[in-house]
C-alpha cells in the first residue's frame, strides 16, 4: 500500500480522517496512513514545510494560506470546513450572572470593563473582537480581552473568572452542560465578519502538500476519494460520529450531539462559497493575520477526478 503521513490534531474537525481510517476507506484505495499527532497549526505547518508529513487532517485556512505565501502549495486544500450558526464552531458563551441572551444585550450590562476570554491566537482574538465591536463595544474601555489556551477554557468559564468567552467546540458543549453559562451566539465569523445571511466561514480544512501531489498524483487522488467518502458518511450517517470517541478530545457522552462543521470537498464548493472564502481571507490580510493577499481558489484542489 502507498504510505501517506497524516498530521492530525485530535479535534472533531479532523473527523473525516478518523472515519476514513476506521471504516477502511484508505485501505480500499490502497493507502496506508501513518498518523503523526501534532498539537495545532504551527506544528502542522512546520511539519508540512519540512516534509515530515504529507497531509494535515485539519489545518486552519489562515495558517495554511500563510504557509502558502512562504512556500507555495505546502497547504493545498482538498476539503474545507464551513462553520456558521447552523454548523457551530466558534461561539460566545456568557456567564449567567450577566443575564443576557444575545450579544447585542451586552450594551445594557452595567459591568465595565467586561472580562472576556478568547480562544488563543491572533485569528481567534480578531474574531472575538469583531463580534464585540459589531455590537459597539470598545476594547480596553468596555472589555478586556484575554486569550487562553483551549485546555483551560472550561475551568476558567466554570470558575466564573470571565464574564464572556469566545470558545470553540467541543468546549462550548462541555461547559454549557455543567454550569451557570448561557450560549449567546455561534457562527461569529459568518455573522460578524462575512455578514451574509447563510454564509459559511471556511476556517479550516484538510490539506496535502503540493510537492506530494506532484510526486504521487495518483496516491493523492485516491486519498481524496477516501476522504470524500468519509465526508459523505459524516453528512448522512450519524454512526460516523463513533469515530470521535477515543480519537479526538470529545467526551464520549456528547459525541452523538456535539456540533460538527460542514465538511465539504472542493468539488462541492459553489461560487458563492468561494466568494465568502475570499472575504474571510481578505479580512485576515487586512488584520495582518496573513502577510499579503491570496486568491482563494489558488490553493484549493479538487483531486477526485
Amino acid at each position: 500500500a502507498d504510505l501517506v503521513r497524516v498530521g492530525s490534531f485530535p479535534v472533531a474537525s479532523s473527523l473525516p480522517y478518523y472515519v476514513a481510517k476506521d471504516r477502511g476507506y484508505f485501505a480500499e484505495q490502497g493507502i496506508e496512513t501513518e498518523e503523526v499527532r501534532l498539537m495545532g497549526g504551527p506544528a502542522l505547518l512546520s511539519a508540512l514545510i519540512s516534509g515530515q508529513i504529507d497531509a494535515a487532517a485539519n489545518l486552519v485556512t489562515l495558517e495554511g494560506m500563510n504557509g502558502n505565501l512562504l512556500r507555495a502549495g505546502v497547504a493545498t486544500y482538498i476539503a474545507i470546513n464551513g462553520q456558521n450558526t447552523e454548523y457551530p464552531m466558534e461561539q460566545y458563551v456568557a456567564h449567567g450572572r450577566l443575564g443576557i441572551e444575545t450579544l447585542e444585550e451586552l450594551v445594557n450590562v452595567d459591568k465595565r470593563p467586561l472580562r472576556v476570554m478568547s480562544a488563543p491566537g491572533p485569528a481567534n482574538m480578531a474574531v472575538a473582537r469583531a463580534g464585540l465591536s459589531a455590537v459597539g463595544l470598545t476594547e480596553g474601555q468596555d472589555y478586556i480581552l484575554n486569550e487562553l489556551a483551549m485546555n483551560l477554557h472550561v475551568e476558567a468559564m466554570l470558575a466564573g473568572t470571565f464574564d464572556l468567552g469566545m470558545t470553540l467546540e467541543p468546549n462550548a458543549t462541555v461547559m454549557l452542560g455543567r454550569g451557570n453559562l448561557v450560549a449567546i451566539e455561534s457562527g461569529i465569523i459568518a455573522n460578524r465578519v462575512i455578514q451574509r445571511e447563510g454564509a459559511q466561514a471556511w476556517a479550516a480544512g484538510a490539506a496535502l502538500n503540493q510537492a506530494f501531489i506532484d510526486a504521487n498524483p495518483d496516491v493523492a487522488r485516491r486519498f481524496a476519494l477516501a476522504w470524500s467518502k468519509a465526508v459523505d458518511d459524516i453528512a448522512n450517517d450519524p454512526g460516523a460520529r463513533e469515530s470521535l470517541k477515543g480519537n479526538t478530545f470529545t467526551p464520549d457522552d456528547i459525541a452523538a450531539t456535539v456540533p460538527l462543521p460542514k465538511f465539504t470537498m472542493i468539488k462541492d464548493l459553489d461560487d458563492q462559497d468561494l466568494a465568502d472564502f475570499q472575504t474571510f481571507l481578505d479580512w485576515g490580510t487586512e488584520l495582518g493575520l496573513m502577510r499579503q493577499n491570496v486568491a482563494a481558489s489558488t490553493f484549493l484542489k479538487d483531486l477526485e477526478n
Binding site: V36, M39, S46, S50, Q52, L152, A159, F249, P251
Partner: protein, 255 residues
C-alpha cells in the same frame, strides 16, 4: 535507635504525602474552589487507583518513566564530564556561560518548534529536547561544584603530579559530587517536567502529559488530578532513588 524508631524515621516521607492530602482535602472541604473544578482527594485517589489497575494510567505512567529515564541518563552522561571540564577553568566557563544561561532561561516549549524541525516528530525529538534542558541544569550545577571546590585538595593533587585529566577525574569530580547530586536532582525533576510538557504540546499518543491534556480537554477532573498526582509522585520517586544513591556514595558531606 530501635526498630520502632527506625521505622518511624523511614516513614518520614509519608508525613509529606499525608500533609499534602490533608491540605487538599481541607481546600476542597471549605470549597475554596468549585468542587467540579477541584475534585476531592478521595475521588482523585480513586481515579488514580482505577487508572492504575485497569492499566490505562499505568501504561501512560510507564511511557513517561521510559522517556524521562532515557533523557535523563543521556543528559547526565554528557553533562557531568562536560561540567567538570568547563568548571575546571573559570575563564573557560565564563566564555560559554552565555550559551548555558541562555538556554537554561528559554522555555522548552519555545524550543519545541526547533527540535521538531531538526529531529522530526517522534520520541527522538522529545528525548533530545529533554536531555538538552536537563543537561544544561546538570552542567551548570556540576561546573559550579567544581568552581567552588576546596583549593587545598586541588593543590594537593597538582603537587603530586596529577595532570589535568587526572585532576578532573580524581579530585574535581569527587569534590563536586555533593553539588553534582543536587544538579542531578534538579535535572531529574526538570526532565520529568519537560517530558510531560512535550507529551502535552508535541502530539503524543501516550504518556502522562498526553493523559493530562486529554483529561483536561474532556473535562475529567479527577482523572486530570490523578495524572498530576502520578507525575508528582513519580518525581518524588526519582528524586528518592537519587538520594539513596547519593547516600551510598557521598559519605563525607560536611566533613
Amino acid at each position: 535507635m530501635n526498630a520502632i524508631e527506625r521505622s518511624i524515621q523511614s516513614a518520614k516521607p509519608l508525613w509529606g504525602v499525608l500533609g499534602l492530602l490533608a491540605v487538599w482535602w481541607l481546600v476542597w472541604k471549605i470549597k475554596v474552589a468549585d468542587p467540579v473544578l477541584l475534585p476531592s482527594p478521595q475521588a482523585t485517589m480513586f481515579s488514580l487507583w482505577s487508572g492504575m489497575t485497569d492499566g490505562s494510567l499505568w501504561h501512560d505512567f510507564v511511557a513517561t518513566v521510559r522517556l524521562t529515564t532515557v533523557s535523563f541518563l543521556l543528559a547526565a552522561v554528557i553533562a557531568i564530564p562536560l561540567g567538570i571540564f568547563l568548571g575546571s577553568s573559570v575563564p573557560l566557563y565564563r566564555s560559554v556561560e552565555f550559551i548555558i544561561d541562555f538556554f537554561r532561561s528559554t522555555p522548552a516549549s519555545a524550543l519545541f518548534p526547533l527540535f521538531l524541525v531538526l529531529f522530526g516528530t517522534g520520541d527522538l525529538s522529545k528525548i533530545l529536547v529533554t536531555a538538552f534542558g536537563a543537561g544544561l541544569v546538570i552542567l551548570f550545577n556540576v561546573a559550579y561544584g567544581v568552581m567552588n571546590a576546596r583549593q587545598t585538595r586541588l593543590l594537593a593533587a597538582k603537587v603530586m603530579g596529577a595532570n589535568k585529566l587526572q585532576t578532573l577525574r580524581d579530585v574535581m569530580f569527587w569534590e563536586s559530587l555533593p553539588q553534582t547530586f543536587i544538579g542531578l536532582r534538579n535535572g531529574i525533576s526538570l526532565a520529568l517536567v519537560i517530558v510531560i510538557v512535550a507529551e502535552m504540546f508535541i502530539g503524543s499518543t501516550e504518556g502522562l502529559g498526553h493523559r493530562l491534556v486529554e483529561a483536561q480537554m474532556l473535562f475529567r477532573m479527577p482523572e486530570m488530578y490523578a495524572a498530576i498526582f502520578a507525575a508528582g509522585a513519580l518525581g518524588y520517586g526519582l528524586n528518592w532513588s537519587s538520594v539513596m544513591i547519593e547516600k551510598r556514595i557521598v559519605h563525607w558531606g560536611g566533613k
